[in-house]
């Protein structure tokens, strides 16, 4: 069983083609890194497979069913998406934001049950934002806000996580914490994740698989080891890089 199956997916905006006939399968139960240069179409692809946008041509199946056949809330219970830029949340406290993640389960009217409170608490704990619970989201630092949104997404209880640059505003300790969390959830609890990352070393350390895009086309699709070679990195970034290993972990540095 595959997580996502894309066949001939194309996405056009007036006057431009952003994704060009993409065929791709993504497997469940692992962390897939989505990498590529700025403007290569990573966010666009993530929006397509999260159902935010419909492809102009081609089909996307999620868990064996065409994405268009999923009802909105049914999909949201199974798949959570974190946009690259989060909107301002005027007048909202962190715990209220996180509680919004339960909407797919309870809808507009359903009562909050013990399991919902438990999910919210667990998400807040896992993202270490407990001390921020009663703060206004809009008054947080960039990294604190990013972790609050990730907590909101975890509270959704979905088994598939799509994260668009989730660690761009985090310090290195929190980067490790978030990626460790996602990695652990996939390894031990059967979750699946697709994460847009710019930090190659973090990707090598915490991801199992890699998909690389360039100008809306697939450049690489393979195990993470395939990424950490000078040839692959040169073809993706157009930049000569050194790859070294230290205690079994691969490192890439610009030459």
């Amino acid at each position: 069983m595959t997580l996502f199956t894309l066949s001939g997916v194309t996405y056009d905006v007036p006057g431009r083609r952003l994704i060009e006939r993409l065929d791709l399968t993504i497997r469940p139960g692992m962390v897939t890194a989505l990498i590529g240069r700025n403007g290569s179409g990573k966010s666009t692809l993530l929006k397509l497979i999260s159902g935010q946008n419909r492809p102009s041509a081609g089909r996307i199946a999620y868990a064996g069913r065409d994405l268009a056949d999923w009802a909105p809330r049914e999909l949201a219970r199974d798949l959570a998406y974190l946009p690259q830029v989060t909107p301002p949340a005027e007048g909202m406290l962190v715990e209220e934001l996180v509680a919004l993640g339960r909407f797919p389960w309870r809808g507009a009217l359903g009562r909050f049950r013990a399991e919902d409170h438990a999910a919210v608490d667990a998400a807040i704990r896992r993202c270490s934002v407990g001390h921020l619970r009663h703060r206004l989201v809009d008054t947080l630092s960039g990294g604190e806000r990013q972790r609050s949104w990730i907590a909101m997404m975890l509270a959704q209880g979905a088994r598939t996580l799509l994260l668009d640059e989730p660690i761009s505003a985090l310090d290195v300790a929190h980067q490790v914490e978030v990626l460790d969390l996602v990695h652990g959830m996939c390894r031990d609890e059967g979750f699946s994740a697709i994460v847009v990352l710019h930090d190659l070393n973090m990707a090598a350390r915490y991801c199992d698989h890699v998909v690389a895009l360039g100008a809306g086309r697939l450049l690489l699709d393979g195990p993470i080891g395939a990424l950490m070679t000078p040839e692959a990195l040169l073809s993706i970034y157009g930049l000569p890089m050194h790859v070294a290993a230290h205690e079994g972990h691969a490192f890439a540095l610009p030459r």
Binding site: P72, P83, P87, E90, G101, P104, D138
Partner: protein, 656 residues
């Protein structure tokens, strides 16, 4: 190809003007240059000093309004802003009305000085409040709307109190372009040319400003002086137009929107093309009226009828418009403040609402002065009073609830029930019924009103299904429908007819004619709305976070938005039908609620609902007692009570 519309419009406007001019005077008899007035016939003089300057003035005034609108939309970062947003025109109108009634001598030197003084006073008030927060867009917008509402309520009150001046005032209000010499055009041109140069110079700083306050600061731009200068320029232009030709509605809103849908992308393009579109819309409207008059039709004020041309044009073009970048609140606007115990605040409001209801029911002013109603009168008067009070409170709650929904849905502080166009449609329905049916009874009027409102709502819903429901565009569509309706209404009002007075009275709002059944139905609807609001709390919580988050959480956005728009429209229509278009309660109550620190969906909506009821209760009491034994218009009182309150809250918050 799109730009061909501009060319086609220009040709049409010129053709219309030529038809009017030729039917006034055959081409062979046109005066030869240079004109010498002593050698000209009356017909020649009328052409050379009447029609010709009128055509030029229409172009210039339209251009000035288009430019003012584009500047205003850029600096307030709101596609709904227009030259009337800051209350300038209403200030000018109030000054003219007040002078006409109380000091006619001041008008001896023409309208210009008085109108400019009024516009200046209104602007001063708005700027004084805006300055405390560095002219942050939302603050300035709200302050401007408050001043505008207040001024036009005062003007209407004065007009109503002096019925016999009505018609000349309506003519001025409606924007009269008729000219007797070239001085109007010359003044306008003298104002417009430097304004265009200044606008071009402001384009780049304004573009930098659109990066938001942090971005602008990082690039070394000081925001407050830039905003002040831009606002002042826009206000000066619109004051010029108000003073020269009176209130000309809708051009300032439509022109920038039209050029944007025609593909003008950069700010400089918009600033330079909007005057062109404005000139076209006003010339087309004026040419149409001139041609009509030449063909033996009635002579109507142009300013009130611009919606006739601009409305349909905008509705047709809107689907092509690129989505707006969503505006963001900035530090000066952010209310960061949340009431620590919203439940307590709401309970207090509910208690105040009940107490006020009882007080106005039993208390009041009688033949013997202030006091409680005498026991022997209770049986006759209490049911009547109770009906009026219930109707007023319910209407207030309905309108405020509708406003709360719209503000939540669009995150636009200017969103209010009248933006939906339903109020305009209902008003038009009422007016048409009054004019078409001799001695129409209450049932007939109610039918006509609701038919008008329903038509407008259906038009909006139809539009909503066609375009992909981007809320900002939907509001523009609602405004366009409303402008179309009020253009027709303006034509009806300006026709020399005593029934216009009946309509003006209704437009000011009144709850004294509602039947017991009607009041009960309205109350039932208000309660139902409250229930729906409570039930949609989570949805209303998610919607302001935008499309992406809404979709990610599984919200069926298209259906939810359509449903909420229809709900707001129905609530507005029902309230308007019974007590008249007092919908600015729907604007003020949500702002009051937010200023009180009610931030989350449930407290915000419930609070708005209660505040709407409270405002209308106060208004009903004031309307009944202020000039006993006569009832005064309810809507006017609601404005006169609500605006100062909100003003005080805003000032308090800024100094805190």
């Amino acid at each position: 190809m799109n730009r061909m519309i501009l060319v086609g419009g220009a040709v049409a406007a010129l053709a219309l003007w030529t038809i009017a001019a030729l039917s006034a005077l055959p081409l062979a008899e046109w005066p030869a240059l240079p004109w010498r007035i002593d050698g000209m016939s009356v017909g020649q003089i009328l052409l050379a000093y009447g029609l010709m300057p009128r055509g030029v003035l229409a172009l210039l005034a339209g251009a000035a309004l288009g430019l003012a609108g584009a500047l205003m939309q850029a600096v307030l970062r709101n596609p709904l802003a227009d030259p009337t947003t800051l209350g300038t025109a209403s200030g000018a109108q109030l000054a003219i009305v007040a002078a006409t009634i109380h000091a006619p001598g001041w008008l001896a030197g023409g309208n210009l000085p008085v109108a400019l003084a009024g516009a200046g006073a209104a602007t001063f008030l708005v700027m004084a409040l805006g300055a405390r927060r560095g002219f942050a867009p939302v603050t300035v917008t709200i302050a401007g709307m408050l001043v505008g509402l207040m001024a036009s309520a005062l003007a209407t009150a004065m007009t109503l109190a002096q019925g016999h001046y009505l018609l000349s005032l309506v003519m001025w209000n409606g924007g009269a372009l008729a000219q007797v010499d070239w001085s109007g055009s010359r003044n306008m041109a003298l104002a417009l040319v430097p304004a265009l140069v200044a606008a071009a110079a402001l384009a780049r700083p304004l573009m930098v400003m659109s990066l938001g306050p942090e971005g602008a600061h990082g690039l070394g731009l000081r925001l407050a002086p830039l905003r002040f200068a831009t606002l002042l320029l826009a206000v000066a232009l619109s004051a010029m137009v108000s003073a020269q030709v009176g209130l000309v509605g809708f051009v300032g809103l439509a022109a920038p929107a039209i050029v944007r849908s025609l593909g003008a992308r950069t700010l400089l393009q918009r600033l330079m093309l909007a005057p062109l579109a404005g000139a076209l819309v006003l010339s087309l409207a004026d040419g149409l009226l001139l041609a009509l008059a030449a063909a033996g039709g009635p002579s109507l004020p142009t300013g009130a009828l611009t919606g006739l041309i601009g409305g349909p044009l905008l509705i047709w073009l809107l689907p092509r418009m690129k989505a707006q970048v969503p505006q963001q609140t900035e530090a000066g606007d952010r209310r960061g403040h949340r009431a620590p115990r919203p439940a307590r605040l709401l309970a207090g409001l509910a208690a105040a609402c009940l107490a006020l209801g009882l007080l106005t029911l039993f208390g009041g002013r009688g033949p013997g002065g202030w006091g409680f109603i005498a026991p022997e009168l209770r049986e006759t008067f209490l049911p009547l009073r109770a009906t009026a009070i219930l109707a007023a409170a319910s209407a207030g709650a309905l309108l405020a609830g509708a406003g709360a929904i719209l503000q939540r849905l669009t995150a636009n502080p200017m969103a209010a029930p009248e933006v939906l166009g339903v109020t305009g449609g209902a008003s038009l329905g009422y007016a048409v019924t009054v004019m078409a049916v001799d001695g129409a009874g209450p049932l007939m009027l109610a039918l006509g009103t609701s038919a008008g409102g329903a038509l407008a709502l259906a038009g909006l819903a139809g539009f909503a299904m066609r375009a992909d429901l981007a809320p900002a565009r939907l509001l523009l569509a609602g405004l366009a429908i409303g402008a179309l309706a009020s253009a027709v209404l303006g034509a009806i009002m300006a026709s020399d007819d005593r029934r216009a007075w009946v309509i003006l009275g209704w437009l000011a709002g009144s709850a004294s004619q509602v039947s017991a059944l009607g009041a009960a139905a309205l109350a039932g609807l208000a309660l139902a709305l409250l229930a729906v609001l409570a039930a949609s709390a989570r949805v209303l919580e998610i919607l302001p976070l935008g499309t992406e988050v809404g979709r990610a959480l599984g919200l069926p956005l298209a259906r939810v938005r359509l449903g909420l728009i229809l709900l707001a429209g129905l609530a507005t229509g029902a309230a308007t039908m019974l007590v008249g278009p007092v919908s600015f309660v729907g604007l003020m109550a949500p702002h009051l609620a937010r200023a009180m620190g009610l931030a989350r969906a449930v407290p915000f909506c419930t609070g708005s609902w209660l505040l709407g009821a409270v405002l209308m209760l106060l208004a009903a009491f004031g309307a009944r007692t202020a000039s006993y034994p006569y009832d005064l218009p309810l809507g006017l009182f609601a404005t006169l009570i609500g605006t100062p309150w909100l003003f005080i809250l805003l000032v308090k918050r800024t100094s805190a």
